[in-house]
Amino acid sequence: MTHPALIGLLCLQGLCGVALLVLLACAMLKQSLAARRRAAAITLGPAMREAITTYLGGNSNLAELRRMAAESAEEVEESLLGFQARLGGNDRERLGELAIELGFVQEWCEAAESHDLEKRRRGFSRIAALAQSEAVRRMAGDLPERGLKDSDTKVRVEAARALLESDERRRLEQAFQAALGFSPLAQLEIASLMRRHALTLCESAIPDVLRKGCGRELLITLRLLSSWECALPLPDLGDLSEHPDPEIRCETMRLLALLPPTPQNRRALLNGLTGSDLEVSLAAVAALDRLKMRTAMPQLTSCLRRKSEPLARAAAAVLATMGLDGAKALEGQLPNPDPIASGAAREALERRSSLPAEAWA
């Protein structure tokens, strides 16, 4: 009874084997074709780069590049995009013009309006990559602005990237507003591009959010600002240092290190330092480490006695960098009966003595 069933099963497996053999032949063919294509791209690569370099050098004869683009458009496109990161100023402008001449920008604009998500993403990402060129921006028109309303996150991020290449305040503010709704990773990507527009954005867009924003929006803005790590001409953040949300207070402390040390900002830092939340105090200590604010020495010394080891260590480390006065404050804590305070002070003093004098002086 089992005999015919087994023969049937074996035949089925044999058939599968034959089908797999055919598939192997197809896969091998595909792999060898891909290998050939890669090899051809490698061979064609130097010629393409040379042709692009010649064009960028001032030779406007496009015959060779047009021929290459007709042969392998994708490779030429990749080469063009590969160039844009290495160029600046007029050369980048010329590269944009070349992309227009070869018909790529037109294609990207059409792709950006496609219903196919992959095409749309590709189109926007290419436009964003060459949006530093005025000619490309002009050709793309209001596509990036419309892209900000797309249902797909990647498209929105690329659209914001394209907008951030412009110097128009309206467009920059649009991109900033859109970035507040992005995922954390996309925000990091956009943050690095927004940094160079910090001054423009600090005129009205950022102060508006800091004044009127609430909850998540405010938190994201504060994080974005501190990720820029540059001095920011912003108004005082005194109000935010008293915000009920400890996360916002924490981010405010971090940001205070980048703002002008106005009396209000200094007071906000000291409030954070002496507040009840340990995370906020730690952030304030980190900001003080950056600002080297000697007037905060008594508050820093009191942090050693707050029964928190990380806070005591961080405060002691900052005091150790504040010259002889800081060292004296630490020495004053050595006989403290609290083992955390005395331990942190001893550790900081030991580390201070192991470093060369110019490191802490």
């Binding site: 005999h3 074996l10 797999l20 598939l23 192997l24 896969a27 290998a35 990091l188 690095s192």
Partner: protein, 436 residues
């Protein structure tokens, strides 16, 4: 009657073969999807941002040989903003420590031991004077898990990287792996990169490749569909420091990373958290091809024993629902029941022939179908590799792997099954091997 029972028993491995074929296909589709969804370009913008968490990559070198030095040099080249390589020397001799000091110009460095996790005493901490972010920790012998705990105690980085000593790691791995942790910090518990090994010449390397490929497609990519992913050999794993400390740190077991991931799954399921252990399928970290048959056997033995040990510690989890309900039975099935069942059925062939339970022709056909099921599974895995992992396999190598499937299933796999059972039992029951 015994003949019919035996035939039905024999149908089990064939059905399991069909099930693994299904999982293989699902896994390939999943891996392909993961690979294409991930960003095409390297996220280099993360290099400068202050908001990217620091990462400490922990590693335990087996010795102070040139191979170990090379591996550490490779790790030091990892492309990332704030990374430190914490090398923990487990009971190293004076000569070994001196060799490390000479190679990387190590100098004593002050470090604060947080004592968050139990670990053997640290004897010294050294930092490299060379421009590499390397910190070497000398400590008393305590095993792999103990070393990892000591490393965690000495770092303040919120993200811990664990790398398999047999892994080939690409420089951009950390940049890719950190992305899910930034994007969904609350949900993602761990991120792991692992891909099939690069094709290599020699029967041992090909047999290993086939075995690993099936495991990668089924256990890694396949199980990740149900959020039941577990790391395999050659993985690069990123874990959140807080999550590791919360679960009590690493156990002193041979496969402590695997055990930790099972524990993370269990804890999250028991606490009713929305969580994910994420698999990254691009070619960022993969096991190096074994150079000899001996090396391959050693690796398989180590992995099998480690899996058995981890399973022995989580037997109670068999009755927990959620993603873990597939994970533990799946591991038992693939690492013990299937090899055991197949071996027992082959062993039953002799009495079946002797006592005429089954006609000889049927017996030959049954054994043939079992072998053919294995061949079809392996061949399918070979054909799915370029689609799933995006590997560029030279056509000749692909054909060689394809036909090695026949050799593998006509004796090699059956012999390997016997060894797998032995290693499993050793890992599951042997206390000396498991440590405490």
């Amino acid at each position: 009657m015994p003949g019919l029972a035996l035939t039905l028993l024999w149908a089990c491995p064939i059905l399991c073969g069909a099930a693994s074929l299904y999982l293989l296909l699902r896994g390939a589709i999943r891996a392909h999807h993961e690979r294409t969804v991930a960003a095409q370009e390297e996220p280099t913008f993360l290099l400068k941002s202050r908001l990217v968490p620091d990462v400490a990559v922990l590693a335990m070198p087996p010795d102070a040989s040139e191979t170990s030095f090379q591996f550490v040099r490779k790790l030091a080249k990892l492309y990332f903003g704030h990374v430190e390589i914490l090398l923990v020397l487990d009971g190293a001799s004076n000569e070994e420590l001196q060799a490390w000091k000479d190679e990387f110009h190590l100098l004593p460095a002050p470090r604060v031991d947080t004592h968050s996790l139990p670990a053997e005493p640290v004897l010294g901490v050294y930092a490299s004077a060379a421009p590499v972010p390397l910190v070497v920790v000398e400590k008393e012998r305590g095993g792999e898990g103990d070393c990892l705990n000591a490393g965690i105690n000495l770092t303040s980085a919120p993200v811990i990287g664990l790398v398999d000593w047999n892994a080939e790691v690409s420089e951009g791995t950390l940049l890719r792996l950190i992305c899910p942790l930034i994007d969904e910090p609350e949900r993602i518990q761990a991120v792991c990169a692992v891909a099939p090994s690069a094709p290599a010449r020699g029967l041992a390397a090909r047999l290993y490749h086939l075995d690993f490929l099936r495991q990668w497609l089924c256990r890694c990519a396949g199980l990740s569909i149900w959020n039941s992913f577990l790391p395999a050999t050659g993985s690069f794993l990123l874990l959140k420091r807080d999550a590791v400390v919360e679960t009590g740190g690493f156990k002193r077991t041979p496969g402590c990373a695997l055990e930790m991931v099972i524990r993370l799954h269990r804890e999250a399921v028991l606490r009713g958290r929305r969580y994910q252990v994420r698999l990254i399928t691009g070619p960022f970290s993969r096991p190096a091809a074994p150079r000899s048959n001996r090396e391959m056997n050693e690796r398989i033995a180590r992995e099998q024993s480690a899996t058995a040990d981890a399973l022995s510690r989580h037997l109670g989890t068999l009755f927990v629902f959620g993603s873990i309900s597939r994970l533990i039975p799946g591991l038992f099935c693939s690492r013990l029941f299937l090899p055991l069942g197949e071996t027992m059925l082959l062993a039953l062939a002799c009495p079946a022939l002797l006592f005429r339970w089954v006609p000889p022709v049927d017996l030959v056909l049954l054994i043939s179908t079992m072998a053919a099921a294995g061949i079809v599974t392996s061949m399918t895995a070979v054909l799915l590799e370029p689609f799933a992992a995006g590997s560029h396999i030279p056509p000749r190598e692909m054909a060689a792997l394809f036909f090695t499937s026949i050799v593998e299933n006509l004796g090699c796999r059956q012999w390997r099954n016997i060894k797998l059972i032995g290693h499993f039992m050793r890992g599951f029951f042997c206390r000396d091997f498991r440590g405490n």
